[in-house]
């Protein structure tokens, strides 16, 4: 990218425009001068107890007071009852791994990380959970038991992860 920027600056001076010639095809390209930076601000007002719990090492879901349905990720509303009267319940942090992958080619926003394993587990309480797998992917066997634990990310925040039990 830096090389491209240099070429654009050079061409702007020589040719008059922010252009580059595509190396492979030889086709002329305009390089957009209007960079757009997106970074979202997302309401978690209605799932604050999830984060309060996570800070204490707990995994919290919501449970409809009317029908007893448990939601993870937690939801504010129960579509079964058209009702929003929910309890916060702690989920048991053990379960069975169902599948996994290792992300080798990462998005740029995860560029600071080495390839990371991701797994989905079915918690003994019922819900499934997707998270990074803190363990050796090579050692995973069908039926692998796992636990949910909380660790501090390189970015500086707390997040849940799966680990072999």
């Amino acid at each position: 990218m830096d090389k491209m920027k240099e070429q654009v600056m050079k061409n702007m001076e020589e040719l008059g425009f922010p252009v580059i010639v595509d190396e492979k095809s030889g086709a002329m390209q305009w390089v957009d001068m209007r960079e757009l930076r997106l970074r979202y601000i997302i309401s978690i007002e209605n799932i604050k107890p999830f984060y309060e719990g996570l800070k204490e090492g707990k995994l919290m879901g919501t449970k409809c007071k009317k029908c007893g349905r448990v939601f993870f990720p937690p939801q504010k509303d129960c579509p079964s009852c058209l009702d929003s009267d929910m309890d916060w319940v702690e989920l048991k942090k053990e379960g069975t791994l169902e599948t996994m992958t290792v992300v080798f080619v990462r998005p740029p926003s995860f560029g600071q990380y080495d390839p990371y394993p991701v797994a989905i587990a079915k918690l003994d309480d019922g819900p499934r959970i997707l998270a990074w797998y803190n363990g050796d992917p090579q050692q995973v066997k069908p039926g692998q038991r796992v636990k949910v634990q909380v660790s501090r990310r390189r970015e500086g925040y707390l997040m849940y992860e799966l680990a072999p039990l």
Binding site: L38, I41, I42, S43, Q75, K76, D77, L82
Partner: protein, 398 residues
């Protein structure tokens, strides 16, 4: 295949800055009352359409998000977008799904969470909704600026004034103050508008609709289903027209009117059986796309509520207030109710339902004599226009 399609349930979230909810929760806020008014449950929905422009918000797969959150999976869905007319486009998809016989009950949800991005980013993103390469990249056009080019042309040609534009804002705030779902529930006067800072000359802050979070939802059903369910409270979709304009404003013939709107209106009137030479005779009221003040005046003309060049007189004479020739935007319009891009067209349908069924809040209920309401919803700057006619009966009265 169904001969006719009705709106049998509606819901509307509070519009405004909604940092108290996330995207799914905001959708649910209007979906829940839609289910309740239709007396249906999520499992009854056969197909659903999401209207959402996105970009400024985090969740790209809103139909899948709501399939999960609202128990609509595994029913089919898609997202449709026609800039600020997305909501009406979604209604078209729901309508044709039923009319073609592909579904008997369909849900349309319009949602926008614009404030997941800071305002400057939103301004940047909306500006990109014309010709990106020729008009944005080099000339930094914004959404207010595109419409301001129309406002200026209109003033230059017909002698309308900035005060005339301001009168539209005054009317729409007057009614917005009576709408508990509106973003701004406060009356203003002409001076408030005239003294507000310029955004894109001749438009000032109070000429502009705000950046809004909100959702609106309608449930559509076939004529057979309406009978089967014994639905009392409903309105029918009598006609819809849609037109497209060029991406570049420079490729248009004039700037005092939107060709796409004239085209859409003609189609809609024809389909609904409304005389194009005197549509007001058939209508109890209308919602028009007042993303800015001047476009409301231009809409009067494109919809043939008056002759070309006379729209500003309608507002000067207060003919678009309740009691005038035709009440327009008496829910506050985009200007005062707010303009959550993807939700706006659906919100107009909710308003048609409320007005025709005499459920509007005190002080903003139109007289319903003819039983017909019009919604005019423009995407971009006339890049897309949808005009939809709603009625209490399956046909307009001659």
């Amino acid at each position: 295949m169904s001969e006719n399609v009705a709106i049998i349930g509606t819901g509307h979230s509070r519009f405004g800055t909604r940092r108290d909810v996330n995207i799914a929760e905001l959708c649910w806020e209007s979906m829940k009352p839609a289910f309740e008014t239709a007396n249906l449950e999520p499992k009854d929905i056969e197909f659903f359409v999401v209207s959402n422009a996105g970009m400024w918000s985090s969740e790209a797969a809103v139909p899948a998000l709501m399939a999960e959150y609202a128990d609509l999976a595994p029913k089919g869905s898609m997202r449709v977008e026609a800039a600020c007319a997305s909501g009406s486009a979604a209604i078209r998809v729901g309508y044709t799904a039923i009319k073609s016989g592909m579904a008997d009950i369909a849900l349309v949800i319009g949602i926008e969470k614009m404030q997941e991005s800071p305002n400057p980013n939103v301004i940047e993103l909306i500006g990109r909704f014309g010709s990106y390469f020729w008009e944005f990249e080099n000339f930094g056009l914004t959404f207010p600026a595109y419409y301001a080019l129309h406002g200026t042309a209109y003033m230059m040609k017909y002698g309308a004034t900035e005060e005339d534009f301001a009168r539209v804002a005054v009317k729409n705030h007057y009614y917005g103050a009576k709408n508990p779902y509106a973003q701004f529930q406060k009356e203003i006067d002409i001076e408030t508008v005239m003294k507000s800072p310029y955004i894109a000359w001749p438009f000032k802050l109070f000429d502009c609709s705000p950046i809004t979070d909100g959702s609106a939802c309608v449930i559509l059903a076939s004529e057979e289903k309406v009978k089967e369910l014994g639905i009392d409270e409903k309105i029918w979709i009598l006609g819809q027209g849609v037109g497209t304009g060029t991406a570049n404003l420079s490729r248009r013939e004039e700037f005092t009117s939107l060709a796409s709107a004239r085209y859409a209106a003609e189609q809609a009137y024809k389909m609904a059986g409304i005389d194009m030479d005197d549509p007001i005779k058939y209508l109890d009221g209308a919602n028009v796309h007042d993303c800015f003040t001047a476009p409301e005046i231009i809409a009067y003309e494109d919809l043939r509520f008056c002759k070309r060049g006379e729209g500003y007189k309608l507002i000067r004479e207060e003919q678009t207030y309740i009691g005038g020739k035709i009440p327009v935007n008496i829910d506050g319009g985009l200007k005062s109710k707010g303009h959550p891009i993807g939700a706006t067209g659906v919100s107009q349908a909710v308003e048609a339902y409320k007005q025709l069924l005499r459920k509007a809040e005190p002080g903003r209920q139109a007289d319903i004599n003819k039983g017909v309401w019009l919604a005019h919803n423009v995407g971009g700057t006339g890049h897309y226009t949808y005009v939809t006619i709603y009625g209490l009966e399956k046909e307009v009265k001659g």
